[in-house]
Symmetry: C2
Subunit: 428 residues, 2 copies
């Protein structure tokens, strides 16, 4: 195979420009590694005239990404536009229908339509690859679907939204509150146009749903991901967690349980000495656990031009080398529909309550927890202001269902003000 592999690139934002740069600057290296030239034949973006700092005049221009996807001189449709509906979806479908392979960085598209797209692509004998959609430059899709292919995967965890991790680690290091850091991240351009995609855990949830499909051979089911954002984390939570030897991370966890597939993306406490606990700033980390390999931890940049383009090019090079794999690691027709299991795996929890200064208040809370079958591992009461005192409780292992029962009963006691905060302590 020495024919050039011809790319059509849809989207010339940061990632698209990064891919153009690599293909232009490393032509000889890529050809040697792939055994054939890798070239760009056509590009598409919203504005043709914008100066993007790269030469595009060698490539055909298409205003319409669907037209790009259908061009005869395109072998691989590289979709780096983003958006889970509209042009990205239309063009990806058109590419598959026209017999093109697809490389995409679009987690939202695949989280919402990944199963249908995989069925269509595989029926047409095409591949869709999406390393850049999950954890930026970290080769996690490849490690999971190929490197660990001899394992039954038992659990996948990850910190996969750099903005949230930036906010949480800066809260700790600077002693600033959530709102101040949110504003800082916004000014630095770290937030999506809809910030809830970041701080609400949606973006990271998209990524988790893709990893779960590969790990457990199930159809992508983003709607069943339990999502909880970081908006309610206070500096006090961060500090209290630190006092007890923990860090708070927006942590994704998926695992197959006896009752079905558990997928959670929520703020969790992890030991500060663990690799996840030590992860600072915008870096991403994914933990892969298999019955043979035990645990593999992958760490790297979760975003940015170079790292994301690196992941796109990894996929392009695989296609150039003739590697062909079902989209989610086994044929889409064999992927099962998993029963969603909502947080059935027990864990210790961190609770923060604001206790009113009334006699017997703490005893009442302890009684409610006890009645729900929840035993207390540690409890701390901090200096209190005029009328309320923050109380921190670390429970022994319990299920979220039992905990929720207790949390619903606590306000009725009349001794707690505000809403209790409950964060899972994940065993990593």
């Amino acid at each position: 195979m020495t024919d050039p592999l011809r790319l059509g690139i849809a989207g010339l934002g940061t990632v698209g420009v990064g891919v153009v740069r690599i293909v232009r600057q490393k032509a000889a290296l890529l050809a040697e590694r792939a055994g054939r030239p890798v070239v760009i034949t056509a590009v598409s973006a919203r504005s043709k005239d914008k100066d993007r700092g790269v030469t595009l005049s060698d490539y055909a221009w298409e205003d319409d990404p669907v037209a790009l996807a259908q061009r005869d001189d395109v072998d691989v449709f590289v979709e780096v536009m983003g958006g889970h509906d509209g042009p990205a979806k239309d063009a990806t479908e058109a590419a598959i229908a026209a017999g093109k392979d697809v490389v995409t960085a679009n987690k939202a598209l695949l989280a919402h339509h990944g199963h249908a797209l995989a069925l269509a692509a595989e029926a047409a004998g095409r591949v869709i690859r999406f390393e850049a959609a999950v954890a930026g430059g970290i080769p996690v899709i490849k490690s999971l679907s190929e490197g660990l292919a001899g394992n039954e995967i038992t659990r996948v965890m990850g910190v996969m939204n750099g903005t949230c991790n930036y906010i949480l680690t800066r809260m700790q290091s600077e002693g600033l509150g959530y709102n101040a850091l949110f504003e800082e991240a916004n000014k630095l351009g770290f937030l999506e146009a809809d910030p809830n995609l970041d701080v609400g855990g949606i973006d990271a949830g998209h990524k988790l749903s893709l990893l779960a499909a590969i790990a457990f051979g199930t159809q992508v089911d983003f709607d069943s991901v339990e999502l909880e954002g970081i908006q309610n984390i206070t500096i006090e939570d961060i500090n209290h967690a630190a006092d007890m030897g923990y860090r708070i991370k927006l942590l994704g966890v998926c695992q197959m349980t006896g009752r079905g597939l558990e997928q959670r993306m929520s703020p969790c406490l992890v030991p500060d000495s663990s690799p996840l606990g030590q992860l600072e700033g915008g870096t991403n980390m994914v933990v892969l656990e298999g019955d043979q390999v035990e645990q593999v931890v992958l760490r790297g940049p979760g975003a940015g031009m170079g790292p994301t383009a690196s992941a796109v090019m990894g996929d392009v090079m695989d296609i150039a080398r003739g590697f062909r794999l079902p989209v989610f690691g086994k044929p889409a027709t064999t992927l099962t529909r998993a029963t969603p299991a909502r947080a059935v795996t027990p864990a210790p929890y961190y609770l923060r309550l604001s206790l009113e200064d009334k006699p017997g208040a703490l005893a009442k809370v302890a009684t409610v927890l006890g009645e729900a079958g929840i035993s207390i591992d540690r409890m701390r009461q901090y200096d209190h202001d005029a009328t309320t005192a923050p109380v921190l409780i670390v429970t022994h292992k319990t299920t979220r269902a039992d905990l929720d029962a207790a949390l619903q009963a606590i306000p009725r006691l009349g001794v707690v003000s505000g809403t209790p905060v409950a964060l899972r302590i994940e065993q990593v």
Copy 2:
């Protein structure tokens, strides 16, 4: 492709038995993922009658691994015998000559004969894969040669000998000396039959030489790896390093410099807050740096039945899926012979000297360093016994050549007893 992929397994030690177990227990899963069954047809080992806890009666038995490699019913020769010459080499060559693909866990074989074997395999249109040879269960070969294929690799680092890391971290945590921990590791069966393979850095050096070949497109050149073992590290070094915020690791580093390819495997100081510094016990870590991806860190078990068999099976599954790649990521005929560059990259160094209690002793040492162009960043003198005082010096960046010049001059001053210890402080 739905014909079964037929394995012949040479070597039924821990790894071989681990592979047999996976193939037997996960037949359905492997077939679904690979799109075809993966089966074992024949095995070979030294003793046929030994009870290995797995059923072998379904497979043909060969006393001679060469005969196994040549069997008509074997597609992939799985070499998990070990040894860099003798039967492993003969059988691997025989497999290639007979038109078989090869999966091997044998770092020594490839470090010594990798280039010749790659040339032979590629001339015959066969692949040799060796994920299990480097860093156990971590998919590092795959990440480097495939996931980061769009990068120019700038540096690869790694802690890749679990036994050495076990000894060094236990020295710190238990406050025990090197000899005590060496004995402990020996009793636990962590050491190779020739312990110098571990503590002398040879085993880890083998691995580094394989990573360097892939990273820089060069012919494997183990003989040019600068090797220094951990035998001279004292508990005092560990403690002094810790006082200054460092950990001592047997660290491999390879990078292409203006003067050639630098490959070093030696005890180094790394910051205790870095991922490498935080690596405890027998776990391995590899750091991959590329011009696009910046830095990816991979961490996982470096040895053991499950993890090593997981890596072997990753390679087997790739072959079953039809992935075919040159042995070192680009055709062996295009791999260059790199000029070896011995430690040309400057770095700060940690020096430990035993200074005699004589007037002006420290000034004399400082003068010699200054004359060699080495400036001092930090210096500490510890409580001293009767006649000598340990002095620790951290230098500013210097080359090893300049440092060696100074180290040769220092004993002639007549104020230092014993041999000075010099450890590089690696910027990770």
